[in-house]
Assembly symmetry: C2
Homo-oligomer: 178 residues x 2
DNA sequence: ATCATTGCAAAAGATTTGCAAGGTC
DNA sequence: GACCTTGCAAATCTTTTGCAATGAT
């Protein structure tokens, strides 16, 4: 296990409502660890992507990440296949969590951020995070009852957020079926 | 609102662990209602699909449904686009619920069956149903706290089912990241 | 020098759409 | 007869893959 000081690094400024978790390594350091431990190479593209991914705390898909990077021809460009391949590696490395929404893969920070779930607004398509220990207890208790060994879960509450509810107060239309 | 006796119809024999809900109309009757109310046509394909869908209680995707139907050329064949179009109508009509799993759309009975969630086994890919009122209370309480108006939710607990745990006891390999 | 990684082009898989022919009301 | 539906073919969208060139160790 390669050495490194075990200082607590500051993560990107968090407009993150749930706070952050203390971590010993930055996402990049942690990923480099992962690469070393698997005999994989520390390439510029991988470094660029760690940076692009951890410079904002938000939910994004492969497309959104591409847009955030320099376009083809420019310095720092990363091809779409490499983006997809690297996102998978980030998930394997524990840097990102992945879930599906409206038929595509959505990613969010995992490393250094606390467990949480989402509410999805069908009006503005915003994802709102929330945390509930009670939910975890409930999940584990149900699983135990079925002798099911839990690796994780995905919960998304579907509905209309506070902002959109207000906006809709006067222009109301049929609600989407979920 | 068109008349009909309000008898309780038996639904397909249920190897369904959560029991069933009392319903006034069969899925087909309910769908015909829906078609009438929207000025849509009661076609043979739609009737065939209601039948194919409600003859088994299980989770399925568009492909699995196609396989269950007569093949091209044979009587009762329904084309793939029609299957997709009709599945959407079933969801709109409240007959089916839809969710996403491994990048594809999975459907299950909604009409006539109680609310529930799933545990997904990463080994055998089985979906195990469970029901929890406490979860619903928890969901609604979290939503209320955020002034979020709930339309529904999707929860999937990911892990390894009891059967696969036993099977794995002696041939263990790395666990999948979720 | 070895061998992992990248970018390109193309493939693959799921789902959707334009449209002419056919079916339902 | 009006017009909704179907099936076909083709398009679309997202993600993956084969492979030769490039880059990391």
């Amino acid at each position: 296990m390669p050495a490194d000081d075990t200082q607590t690094r500051a993560l990107p400024p968090a407009d993150f409502s749930l706070g952050k978790v203390e971590v010993a390594l930055s996402p990049l350091e942690r990923f480099e660890e992962y690469l070393r431990s698997r005999g994989m190479r520390n390439t510029e593209q991988r470094r660029l992507l760690v940076d692009a991914v951890f410079s904002h705390h938000d939910h994004f898909d492969a497309d959104a990440l591409m847009v955030r990077l320099p376009s083809k021809g420019a310095a720092g460009y990363v091809s779409r296949p490499t983006v997809y391949r690297t996102l998978s590696e980030f998930v394997d490395a524990g840097l990102l969590r992945k879930f599906e929404l409206n038929g595509r893969s959505v990613y969010e920070h995992d490393y250094g951020y606390p467990q949480h779930d989402h509410m999805y607004c069908t009006q503005c398509h915003e994802l709102i995070e929330f945390q509930s220990d009670e939910l975890l207890r409930l999940r584990d208790s149900v699983a135990a009852k079925h002798r099911f060994s839990v690796l994780g879960h995905r919960l998304i509450v579907i509905g209309v957020c506070a902002a959109c509810r207000s906006a809709r107060r006067r222009s109301r239309r049929k609600q989407d079926r979920v």
